[in-house]
């Protein structure tokens, strides 16, 4: 299950990287619950997967506001289908 959250995080970072470049990865590395090894496109979540995703989305929201939240939702849309609604990170609901 944690793997899906890690994939969601990776998808979000990937999409933000396509928008703002290396800044996106720098921002992701500031989320303490995420371990980002971006040269290998590898993301691990240490604890509280929903909270980790929320923190990541908050990081990008700080840059772009609601527009960032919408693009994070878009990036994660397909993977979110694999979760039950109660498992959704609150920022992506």
């Amino acid at each position: 299950m944690d793997d899906i959250f890690a994939q969601i995080a990776a998808k979000i970072i990937e999409q933000q990287e396509s928008i703002i470049g290396p800044v996106a990865v720098e921002q992701a590395k500031q989320v303490s619950k995420l371990k980002v090894d971006w040269p290998n496109h590898n993301v691990k979540i240490s604890s509280d997967p929903q909270g980790a995703i929320d923190s990541l989305v908050a990081q990008y929201k700080e840059l772009f506001g609601q527009i960032a939240v919408e693009s994070c939702k878009e990036a994660a849309a397909q993977l979110l289908n694999q979760l039950k609604p109660e498992q959704f990170p609150s920022s992506l609901k």
């Binding site: 990287e17 396509s18 928008i19 703002i20 470049g21 290396p22 800044v23 996106a24 720098e26 921002q27 500031q30 989320v31 303490s32 619950k33 909270g51 980790a52 929320d54 923190s55 990541l56 908050a58 990081q59 929201k61 700080e62 840059l63 772009f64 506001g65 609601q66 527009i67 960032a68 919408e70 693009s71 878009e74």
Partner: protein, 243 residues
């Protein structure tokens, strides 16, 4: 007169500065990197246009060198601005926003039509091709129509992001969009004055370009400021997420 000969320096500084900071945004690998680079190329092409215009006007005593070498820069900057505005639109996900909100879709269709219609009305309605070379006819049509594209994109973005764009990028993005509109206003005025044979160095049109270049330069500087702003805001974000 002096301003018309030196304000290109503002565009030169802006263009060079933009290329210098684009690496922080991944150069051509990200939408914002592309926006910054194409905007910078546009500014540098404007510089070429200004230098060529000043040379022909001041040293070769050509009253209005049109169409001529300056148009390589002036006209060449338009596709750069179109690309810059297009990648900004892609980066902000405007197409997705427009698709979700029917009213914004209507705005997205109406705005370009209005801008094109205005350009046509001012510059091309009843256009007489008599005694005009093919180059003059081409530029007379291509300038207003091509410029209408980038300002339309900028206006569509401006109207679509209302209530959605926030955070540290809000100010630089808004400045960038205002810069496109200011550049369009300058170009529009240049064409208008050229058509009515009232354009001359040192006129108010030069001040319009000066203002447009300054806004573009400031938007690039504020984009750099975002990076340090993001760095200083990190602990607060983490606390929020960890709580």
């Amino acid at each position: 007169m002096l301003l018309s000969e030196i304000y290109g320096i503002v565009a030169l500084l802006g263009g060079v500065y933009g290329i210098a900071i684009a690496n922080k945004w991944g150069y051509f690998k990200s939408y914002f990197g592309k926006t910054i680079l194409f905007l910078s190329f546009g500014l540098l092409l404007q510089v070429f246009g200004q230098v060529a215009y000043t040379y022909l006007n001041t040293f070769r005593h050509v009253e209005v060198p049109y169409p001529s070498y300056p148009d390589i820069g002036f006209f060449g900057s338009i596709p750069m601005y179109i690309l810059a505005s297009y990648f900004l639109m892609k980066g902000l996900g405007i197409l997705a926003i427009i698709k979700k909100k029917p009213l914004k879709l209507v705005v997205g269709i109406i705005v370009p039509i209005l801008v094109l219609a205005t350009s046509y009305w001012f510059f091309l309605k009843g256009y007489d091709t008599t005694d005009k070379s093919a180059a003059v006819i081409f530029f007379d049509f291509a300038y207003p129509l091509a410029q209408a594209i980038y300002v339309s994109v900028a206006l569509v973005i401006l109207l679509s992001i209302k209530g959605l764009l926030g955070g540290l990028m809000r100010k630089p993005v808004l400045l960038l969009l205002i810069a496109f509109v200011a550049q369009y206003a300058s170009d529009f005025n240049f064409l208008y004055q050229t058509v009515h044979e009232t354009w001359g160095p040192g006129g108010y049109g030069d001040y319009l370009y000066f203002i447009a270049y300054c806004i573009m330069g400031i938007s690039l500087i504020t984009l750099t400021g975002v990076l340090s702003g993001a760095a200083s805001s990190r602990p607060a974000i983490q606390d929020k997420g960890d709580a």
